[in-house]
């Protein structure tokens, strides 16, 4: 029995490569689209969080508190619970509860605050003196944002988006619970529940490859762009 199991894992005889490919494509799709929107919303939220803080360009206590509250609350809710909480919202927005697109709202709403915090931290690391020097040169607020704040924090923003992307791949696996598909779903349903460990193994390995490649690319660009 044991030998049989090991044999079946090694021979990968239960693996349906078409399904595996489809699941991979779904994971890539969910991760990429979610990452794109997370990047957009997270950057905006992070910038607002930073700019409305005390002593900053757009100092505004009310706006700051609201964004900070949103970021803190959604960052603290475990993702698996967030998906379930968002079911009514998702059905209304996407029109269905099945398939990879249905996972997107939860993925974005969960990951954007996570990235927003990293954007805020990256911006806070910028030397205040540099912002002041720009003001002294007569820069407008938008010039300070686009010519100073963002370029000066690029390495930190890239390492932040790398960490977020890796977290997102983890989230997509959990999105399987609402029938979103993807590698996590495949590993759980076809691999674990039907007792096909070879499927679980292959799905895990594909996820690992994604994570390593992402980390490698992220580190490469972070180092290349860091001129400090």
């Amino acid at each position: 029995m044991n030998n049989l199991l090991v044999g079946s894992i090694l021979l990968l005889e239960n693996v349906n490569w078409v399904n595996m490919w489809e699941a991979t494509a779904e994971t890539v799709y969910m991760s990429l689209i979610a990452l794109l929107f997370t990047f957009i919303f997270g950057t905006i939220l992070g910038l607002l969080l930073f700019l409305t803080a005390r002593g900053q360009l757009w100092q505004n206590k009310i706006v700051h508190s609201i964004i900070a509250a949103y970021v803190n609350i959604f960052r603290s809710i475990p993702f698996i619970i967030l998906i379930v909480l968002l079911v009514p919202f998702t059905s209304a927005l996407v029109g269905t509860m099945l398939g990879p697109s249905a996972a997107l709202p939860a993925l974005i709403i969960g990951a954007a605050p996570f990235y927003a915090r990293m954007v805020e931290i990256a911006l806070r690391e910028i030397d205040k003196g540099v912002i002041e020097a720009s003001k002294a040169m007569g820069a407008s607020n938008s010039q300070i944002i686009f010519k100073v704040l963002i370029p000066e924090s690029v390495p930190a923003l890239i390492s932040g988006i790398t960490v977020t992307a890796i977290a997102l791949i983890g989230y997509t696996a959990m999105a399987g619970v609402i029938g979103a598909g993807g590698l996590g779903d495949l590993a759980y349903r076809d691999g674990f529940q039907r007792n096909n460990p070879d499927i679980t193994l292959i799905a895990t390995m594909i996820v690992l490859v994604f994570v390593f490649v992402l980390q490698f690319i992220g580190d490469y660009f972070t180092n290349k762009l860091d001129k400090r």
Binding site: D127, V130, A133, K135, M137, G138, K147, K227
Partner: protein, 341 residues
């Protein structure tokens, strides 16, 4: 060029109100290098930051190059700031930009077309002596070179005024001197008005035409550097002047001498202006029957001449010594007999 009237700034802190600048009236002329000296916390930074409205005054007025800075709209203020360069103690360069891109930054802010920017950046790199370093990043430069980039950047838009907030305080003495030379150079070449604040008298001595001494938010003394050196009125000023004129160990060393037998007269000669280089000592020995020993001395160069003290020991007949002292007085050198009859 710059007029401050009844300028004051009060900060509200958790510990109550802190008056950093207290009712300052000041006029700075076009083309002059004006220094403000004071100890830490005197309010120097707050004062200089009000010149370009980085700090908004609580009361009073600031006028720079004919513009009343307090009343400008946001947009006009940004335009006015483009006419006022500023350099900082910690340089405040953008590390993500190369030297050339850093210098180009204020030009981009002003909206100068890219071809013009290029030629202007080239000129500035040459002006501050950074030829061949345009493609380097700030992290690859020494402190002195970084400040040169700071200066080039501050001059990019042909400002009328340059503000320097402790611009040499993070540099070693030799590098400080080279940066000060550069400032003197651009002051002459461009007839640029320079306002600099520092806690080092050495910096004032080296490059300023006029100086103001600040204490507790007020200007306690001001005037041409040489006058202030010659006749410091306030205790604070005297302390600062000592930084550059008297070797620290003078008093100790001299006191030790006074106890010796047959020491004779000890005189302190104070040279002000162009006299310092005169061969006074040689004259004295030739003309009077006295013996002279130089005990201690320190002469400093200022923008308008030299300043310093010399401690000498004179021995000989009483009436010869008195004649010699009279002679020294006639040379417009101040004499103080600090030991002997």
């Amino acid at each position: 060029m710059i007029t401050l009237s009844k300028l004051a700034k009060t900060f509200n802190t958790r510990d109550g109100k802190v008056t950093a600048v207290d009712q300052i009236d000041l006029t700075i002329e076009k083309g002059e290098i004006f220094g403000v000296i004071g100890y830490s916390g005197a309010g120097k930074s707050t004062l200089i930051r009000m010149l370009n409205m980085l700090e908004v005054p609580t009361t009073g007025e600031v006028s720079v190059a004919g513009k009343n800075m307090n009343t400008l709209s946001q947009r006009k203020l940004r335009e006015a700031r483009q006419e006022i360069g500023m350099i900082f103690q910690h340089f405040n360069l953008l590390w993500s930009r190369t030297v050339a891109e850093n210098i180009s930054f204020p030009l981009e802010i002003k909206g100068v077309p890219s071809t013009e920017r290029k030629t202007r950046v080239e000129e500035l790199i040459k002006l501050v002596g950074l030829n061949g370093r345009g493609a380097s990043y700030p992290s690859q430069l020494s402190g002195g070179q970084k400040q040169r980039v700071g200066i080039a950047r501050a001059l990019a838009n042909n400002p009328q005024v340059l503000l320097c907030d402790e611009a040499t305080s993070a540099l070693d003495p030799k590098t400080t001197d080279s940066i000060l030379e550069l400032l003197i150079d651009i002051n002459k070449k461009l007839n640029l008005t320079i306002v600099l604040i520092t806690h080092e008298m050495h910096v004032i001595r080296k490059i300023c035409h006029r100086v103001a001494v600040m204490e507790n938010g007020r200007i306690v003394e001001q005037g041409p550097v040489l006058d202030v050196f010659r006749r410091p009125k306030e205790h604070m000023t005297k302390e600062f002047v000592k930084q550059v004129t008297e070797p620290e160990e003078t008093e100790e060393a001299l006191k030790h001498l006074f106890t010796e037998e047959g020491i004779g007269h000890v005189l302190q000669l104070t040279f002000v202006g162009g006299d310092a280089k005169r061969a006074l000592i040689t004259d004295l020995i030739r003309k009077f029957e006295v013996t002279i020993n130089i005990l201690q001395g320190k002469l400093s160069q200022t923008q308008d001449g030299s300043y310093g003290s010399l401690f000498i020991n004179v021995t000989g007949d009483e009436h010869h010594i008195i004649e010699a002292i009279d002679y020294i007085r006639k040379q417009e050198v101040e004499v103080e007999v600090i030991h002997g009859e």
